[in-house]
């Protein structure tokens, strides 16, 4: 065959959710994709390269699936990918610690008729629990496919795995090991004959015949043939039960010393999923996350401040030394360094936040949150699973919106997309830190923390209002697997946090850099050219137009309008524009904050804590950043929905800020 001559092959990594596909993919290709310990982290397929003994291997990482009959978007991605003719070999990653469930997908993959290599992951857990797997009997019972024990985290067994992939590719697929009862087998043969007649070149005839017998909608659509005379009803139940019966037999022969004592996970769950304490414990954990973010982050920021001050001073003197014209010096020092540098001083806070989120995600707690919050979410018409994207929203809204793909219905997805931006993302953190630091003194952490609570409440309440308007019901269809707790893995955490910091730095170097320059121009140029007083600039002209609208919310300053508008490019830019507006080189330092406060109060004498709080509220609730809007547009496929969302959010931001300002003014 010409197969052996081929020097490049495509291999798909397929397996149940949370069995370690992405960890293995990272180990094999050197990629640094996000890994965490909850089902549904990977929602897109990703390709990577590796090679073994001179053969180029393209690996495709896929979202996890329990079965080839699937119903969420990410699962369809996987199914399509595996079925694709250009996939030469399938690596089926199996979590050895839950062999019985994982092998169900394996049996389906074997029916596809493609070469399958079984990567037996998490063997260390098996050994820890004193269990043993018979590695001779297991492959025998799976039609003599290669079974390779690997550890994706410890990176062992990888060469053996690649060797098996190449070797097995050259050998081709094994035999079908699972025989169904006579009645079903005869129907399968009839359907196979029909398939071969209509689609003579088809590669996985048996699989399609079985799927037709299961009455699979997608297969019927893709291969419309008359089968009613054979398929008098769906045989799906029998087929599934046959598979599981076979697995039970297999597990009985291959797996020894099945665990007797309750795993540590169950003990931890007694507290974390406690019927009464579950929610308070969750809130406490989140409170700790933000407490550390503010306190430790603030303690570390001094280092950055000193560095930035030195840098800014040096550049300023350097520019003087080479006699750069005044406006250019202003652009560089007051525009770029103030705008970008000011954002960089928040790195310690961002770092701690993502470290905490990484630990949360990698420990196995995430899926429990879905269970714990299910009753609250259910009342507003969403499943507890919809809370997972919302937690991701504390990091960044963009991946959070993408994570909604794991939700079952389009309706739930849209609703979750609508409310997820209310979860305070890391980009809003600098705004909170800055304004609470400037106006709330020793209560600053509390003021900042309250934004997270208000955001969560806004998300849940708006979901409730939407549910009322739709006359929706209680949603109580939660279905999620709860993984074992595990000690967070250092490499996983490092990759996670580094990726996020890199994103933040990239954003500082691109979006925020450009926004700083743009803001500087808008504030330094007016109809008559370069202006001395920013109040005569283009920025001020536009800002002043909208001031009357924001006045009731306590935000009637054209500078704030400029900051809010430019903040749509990225939320940090709100801070950037204050820095540029007042030429403060380091907004996050005590001196910088004092400079902004005195400037703000000079322009707007009454501006105090209440106004600052309203500004924070407005920034929390109003239009999400451009990147989020683009993602929502892409994921919902609808401009109408995206615009509706924007309108809703602006309106809510205005109403809440106005209400708080008006009521607050009565008392203060």
């Amino acid at each position: 065959m010409e197969q052996t001559a081929k020097k490049a092959i495509r291999v798909a990594c397929v397996g149940n959710p949370n069995c370690g596909k992405t960890t293995l993919f990272n180990a094999l290709t050197g990629a640094k994709l996000k890994v965490a310990n909850w089902p549904g982290v990977t929602v897109e397929k990703v390709e990577g390269q590796t090679s073994y003994e001179g053969i180029d291997i393209t690996l495709v990482d896929t979202p996890g699936i329990y079965s080839l009959t699937c119903y969420t978007i990410e699962e369809k991605v996987t199914r399509r990918c595996v079925m694709d003719d250009d996939i030469d070999v399938v690596i089926n990653i199996v979590d050895a610690s839950s062999l019985e469930r994982n092998l169900y997908l394996t049996l389906q993959l074997l029916e596809l008729g493609k070469p399958v290599v079984l990567a037996l992951n998490m063997m260390d857990i098996i050994r820890e629990r004193g269990m043993e797997i018979d590695l001779h009997r297991l492959p025998e019972m799976l039609g003599n496919i290669p079974v390779v024990p690997v550890s994706a985290t410890k990176r062992t067994g990888l060469s053996v795995l690649l060797h098996a992939v190449i070797h097995h590719y050259e050998e081709g697929a094994g035999e079908y090991i699972l025989r169904y009862p006579e009645e079903i087998e005869s129907k399968i043969s009839q359907l196979e004959a029909l398939m071969e007649k209509h689609y003579p070149t088809h590669s996985s005839v048996r699989w399609h015949a079985i799927k037709l017998l299961e009455d699979d909608e997608d297969v019927k659509e893709e291969h419309p043939i008359q089968v009613e005379h054979v398929v008098d009803r769906s045989y799906e139940k029998e087929i599934i039960q046959c598979k599981y019966a076979y697995i039970e037999k297999l597990v009985g022969e291959c797996l020894f010393h099945r665990e007797k004592k309750a795993a540590a996970t169950d003990k931890i769950d007694r507290l974390l999923t406690h019927p009464v304490l579950g929610i308070p414990v969750f809130l406490l954990i989140m409170a700790l996350v933000f407490f550390f973010t503010f306190t430790i982050g603030d303690a570390l920021k001094g280092v950055f401040e000193t560095g930035l001050d030195l840098f800014s001073g040096a550049v300023s003197r350097g520019l003087d030394f080479i006699h750069v014209s005044g406006w250019l010096k202003s652009l560089i020092v007051d525009g770029i360094i103030a705008g970008v540098g000011g954002i960089l001083t928040f790195i310690p806070n961002i770092f701690i936040l993502f470290l905490a989120l990484a630990l949360l995600e990698d420990s196995g707690y995430m899926a429990r949150v879905a269970y714990v919050m299910d009753s609250v979410m259910g009342k507003v018409g969403l499943s507890g699973k919809a809370f997972l994207p919302m937690i991701l929203g504390f990091g960044c809204t963009v991946p959070a919106i993408m994570a909604t793909r794991a939700l079952e219905t389009e309706h739930d997805r849209r609703k979750t997309m609508m409310v997820t931006p209310f979860m305070s993302c890391s980009a809003r953190l600098p705004i909170y830190v800055l304004f609470s630091g400037m106006f709330f003194g020793k209560y600053s952490s509390l003021a900042a923390f309250s934004m997270y609570v208000v955001g969560m409440a806004a998300a849940i309440l708006s979901a409730m209002v939407i549910n009322r308007m739709e006359k929706g019901r209680i949603n109580d269809s939660l279905l999620i697997e709860l993984p074992e707790y595990k000690r967070p893995n250092a490499r996983t955490i490092r990759i996670y946090v580094w990726n996020k910091l890199k994103d933040y730095l990239t954003k500082a170097g691109t979006t925020i850099f450009i926004a700083s320059i743009a803001i500087w121009f808008v504030l330094n140029f007016g109809p008559s050219g370069l202006v001395e007083d920013p109040a005569e600039s283009f920025g001020a002209m536009v800002g002043k137009l909208l001031v009357p609208l924001l006045k009731p919310a306590g935000l009637g300053m054209w500078q704030i309008v400029v900051a809010l508008i430019s903040g749509i490019s990225a939320k940090e830019v709100v801070v950037t524009s204050f820095a540029v507006l007042f030429g403060v080189s380091n907004a996050n330092s005590a001196a910088g904050m004092a400079a902004i406060v005195s400037n703000v109060q000079a322009a707007y004498p009454g501006f105090g804590a209440l106004n600052a709080y309203c500004l924070m509220l407005f920034c929390l609730l109003y239009v999400p950043c451009a990147a989020t809007l683009a993602t929502v547009r892409k994921e919902s496929g609808s401009w109408k929905f995206t615009l509706k969302m924007m309108a809703f959010e602006i309106l809510l931001a205005w109403c809440v800020a106005t209400l708080v300002f008006q009521v607050g003014s009565l008392f203060l």
Partner: protein, 78 residues
């Protein structure tokens, strides 16, 4: 009885599923078939519960659990 009425720490055998076909299919793929043995690990008074089935833990909402017909297991271990 249905799974929704099950007690914490109780062990049961599944007798039938009667949720909508898409969820039934999903549950079957997860290994919840007629005759499968399950153990209830934790539950809220009203609402979702956590079960152990085939060595894995699943959280199920009320809508699903109240459409799973079960029978209490008389014996000792599962």
């Amino acid at each position: 009885m249905t799974l929704y009425e099950a007690k914490k720490d109780g062990r049961y055998t599944i007798e039938g599923l009667s949720v909508e076909p898409s969820i039934t299919r999903r549950l079957q793929a997860l290994g919840l078939n007629d005759g499968t043995r399950i153990q209830v690990l934790n539950r809220k008074r009203k609402g979702a519960l956590i079960i152990k089935v085939r060595g894995t833990r699943l959280a199920l909402g009320r809508h699903i659990s109240s459409h799973i017909e079960i029978q209490e297991e008389s014996g000792e271990e599962a």
